[in-house]
């Protein structure tokens, strides 16, 4: 039987790591990731786990040593945040290009300057094209469950692609909730040991992470793209399998909440989806036909889903905790592109930057703005909400 504990999302993720039984964890501390790597150190100190823990001198080395370990066929974990993620950026493409299924947690935090330790998603979104699968979670429970699922997705022979599990800094990483911790046997039955031929081998020596020139390069990148297509299916099937085991489902790539007859929906990524859920319930009570699309997988992006609902809703708003300066919010531009030709009104709300709170009232305003657009009111496509001078 699984047991329940009162945990922060960082601690919950650490349980997910422990239950996945990695061989090697390497990490370097950075706020707000620290309580995760501390919890892992506690597991070892208490004799609750027995993997190798590398305390490296930087995030760059954290990811490089994870790569080295993965090249040996080891199941490997690391975690970082913000500037640390940017610092290991160089290694992210080494890992993904050489098809090493490392799992990492990014405790989402803003990026400098200005120096800011609080949550938004600018760090992860800056890594959009690193070749990593990028999943975002809504709760501590989902963080634990997604770390375990991430190994199953990453290590699938058709996928063989690293996974970044994104947990909103402070809002989730330092917020406590009741979390169900599965039994080890349960996880073992779900997640088999990592087995690969993509590793060093004393009987049959391998050349890995090889230099590849123009004559073969494109084919390798094509195969990476195919792997992401396979990951789209795998993320869904792994979610379903996990749901059968634990009773907890997160929808796979996306989760629709009260969308069936909705006229106006918001797309939310990460912890804010939880607040949107509450607002949807309240507005539904008042008779407003609103819904939530929770985007769980940013890469691979569920393009086919958004294509399929392009004429389903009257208006769609996208909440972004990041912005690609000179264009749109990062998620919005993807949604808009996937829904090309849609008859729906669309708007992008840039909120929550540098840890700014996103209260329910703000989300309600978004829905009302969208209803206004449906009734013919003109609104700017991209809006920063809750500005001090408003």
């Amino acid at each position: 039987m699984s047991k329940k504990a009162f945990l922060s999302a960082n601690e919950a993720a650490a349980y997910g790591v422990k239950l996945s039984k990695p061989h090697v964890v390497s990490a370097y501390p950075i706020t707000p990731q620290t309580t995760l790597v501390e919890k892992i150190a506690d597991f070892l100190a208490n004799g609750e786990a027995d993997f190798k823990y590398m305390m490296v001198e930087s995030e760059h080395s954290a990811m490089a040593s994870a790569l080295g370990a993965s090249l040996m066929g080891a199941r490997t974990f690391t975690a970082s945040s913000s500037q640390g993620l940017l610092y290991m950026c160089e290694m992210l493409s080494y890992v993904s290009g050489s098809r090493n299924p490392i799992v990492m947690v990014d405790a989402n935090r803003s990026i400098a300057t200005p120096w800011n330790i609080f949550g938004d998603q600018r760090d992860a979104m800056a890594m959009r094209d690193s070749g990593w699968i990028m999943l975002f979670v809504e709760s501590g429970q989902e963080a634990l469950d997604t770390v375990i699922q991430a190994y199953k997705i990453a290590e699938d022979p058709e996928v063989m692609t690293p996974v970044m599990v994104n947990i909103d800094g402070f809002t989730l990483t330092h917020t406590y909730d009741m979390v169900e911790i599965p039994e080890q046997e349960e996880v073992d039955s779900f997640l088999p040991p990592y087995n690969t031929t993509n590793k060093m081998d004393m009987k049959n020596p391998k050349t890995l992470c090889q230099s590849v020139g123009p004559d073969f390069h494109t084919e390798g990148r094509y195969l990476q793209q195919k792997a992401f297509e396979a990951a789209k299916r795998k993320i869904v099937s792994v979610n379903d399998e996990y749901a059968k085991l634990t009773g907890r489902s997160y929808g796979g790539l996306i989760e629709e909440y009260r969308c069936d007859d909705a006229e106006v929906v918001l797309v939310a990524t990460g912890s804010v989806a939880g607040t949107v859920r509450a607002v949807v319930d309240e507005m539904r009570e008042a008779g407003k036909k609103v819904g939530l699309i929770k985007l769980r997988s940013f890469r691979p992006f569920p393009k086919e889903y958004f294509e399929s609902v392009k004429d389903k809703f009257k208006a769609i708003g996208v909440i972004d905790k990041s912005i690609s300066f000179g264009y749109d919010g990062t998620v919005f531009s993807e949604v808009k592109s996937a829904m090309y030709g849609s008859s729906a009104k669309m708007a992008n709300y840039i909120v929550g930057l540098g840890g700014r709170d996103i209260p329910k009232k703000m989300l309600e305003d978004m829905y009302n703005k969208l209803f206004g657009m449906v009734s013919g009111k003109n609104e700017a496509e991209v809006q920063f909400l809750g500005m001090r001078w408003e």
Binding site: M54, L67, G68, M202, P205, L208, Q210
Partner: protein, 297 residues
């Protein structure tokens, strides 16, 4: 610990390399692999050595091998060594890293410091050709004083590299109290191979800094790589030493240094120098040797 040259295996674990003729790096790597044998897992950063040995669909290296990022050699092989332990691999397997001088003393120094401090079970060989040769001869932290490189060009306002002393990787590693570190030269193959052999039999982080002349970058006849490397030692511009059990030791001290111009005049990168430059370089050499003698004695 003695290496018997007669007993070295004929088998080559490095051949078909696309380096320039007379490449000192290839010589060092070949000798090291002769000593370490096939039970070796190798990694290199992006560098000359990787670019000439490891381009798909070919490889000149006959042991397990991977290329990693320029700053990341030490951390990558650390991860390999730690994973091997976690996975229960045989203990006699050597985790070897080979990187150039730029990849070691400049961009790779932080990762190497981390590996040294953790004392991960690796052998790290820095093959020093005194500049970023893979990118076409730009200066590094160990480029010789007054050497011409493409980023220390000579002209009315420049006599080449301005830094009087090479960054001392050997002493930096000793300051980490690694179990073993040494300097070596491809002109002294027995000394070098014995150092590799010694490193193989010590657990922990071992670092060997070997001088590997580059005919292309330095501008000399590829036939005289070994002679050039030997002159560097005989003129006192390079040295052979070890640090073990917390003690320094010179392996070879010339009775009398040859005039530095015997070494410098062989190379195009020093052709702008005159008599006063030679004497200045000699004075620097003496300062460095006096300092090392005090420290190592």
């Amino acid at each position: 610990m003695a290496v018997n040259l007669k007993n070295l295996p004929d088998e080559e674990l490095l051949y078909g390399v696309k380096t320039c003729q007379g490449c000192g790096v290839t010589l060092a790597a070949r000798l090291a692999l002769k000593v370490l044998g096939e039970r070796t897992c190798l990694a290199t950063p992006a560098c000359c050595f990787a670019a000439t040995t490891t381009v798909y669909p070919q490889s000149s290296i006959f042991v397990n091998n991977a290329i990693t990022a320029f700053p990341a050699l030490a951390s990558t092989i650390s991860g390999m060594a730690v994973a091997a332990e976690a996975l229960g691999w045989d203990e006699d397997i050597t985790f070897l890293g080979i990187a150039g001088d730029g990849g070691t003393v400049d961009i790779g120094l932080q990762a190497l410091s981390g590996a040294a401090e953790r004392n991960d079970n690796i052998i790290y060989i820095c093959v020093d050709n005194e500049a970023y040769m893979n990118t076409g001869n730009q200066r590094s932290g160990v480029t010789s004083y007054k050497a011409w490189t493409t980023t220390t060009p000579t002209g009315p306002c420049s006599k080449g590299e301005k830094n009087r002393f090479k960054k001392s990787l050997f002493e930096i590693m000793a300051a980490h109290r690694v179990p073993y570190t040494a300097t070596a030269s491809v002109a002294y193959p027995k000394d070098f191979m014995e150092k590799v052999e010694k490193a193989k039999n010590i657990k922990g982080c071992k670092v060997i800094h070997v001088m590997t002349p580059c005919p292309t970058g330095w501008g000399y006849d590829p036939a005289v790589t070994v002679r050039t490397a030997k002159l560097a030692v005989e003129c006192g511009l390079w040295y052979l030493a070890e640090f073990e059990n917390n003690e320094f030791k010179f392996n070879f001290v010339p009775k009398e240094f040859k005039p530095v111009e015997e070494y410098l005049k062989l190379q195009r990168r020093f052709r702008h120098l005159d008599e006063s430059d030679y004497r200045e370089i000699e004075a620097n050499r003496d300062i460095e040797w006096n300092r090392m003698r005090k420290r190592f004695a």
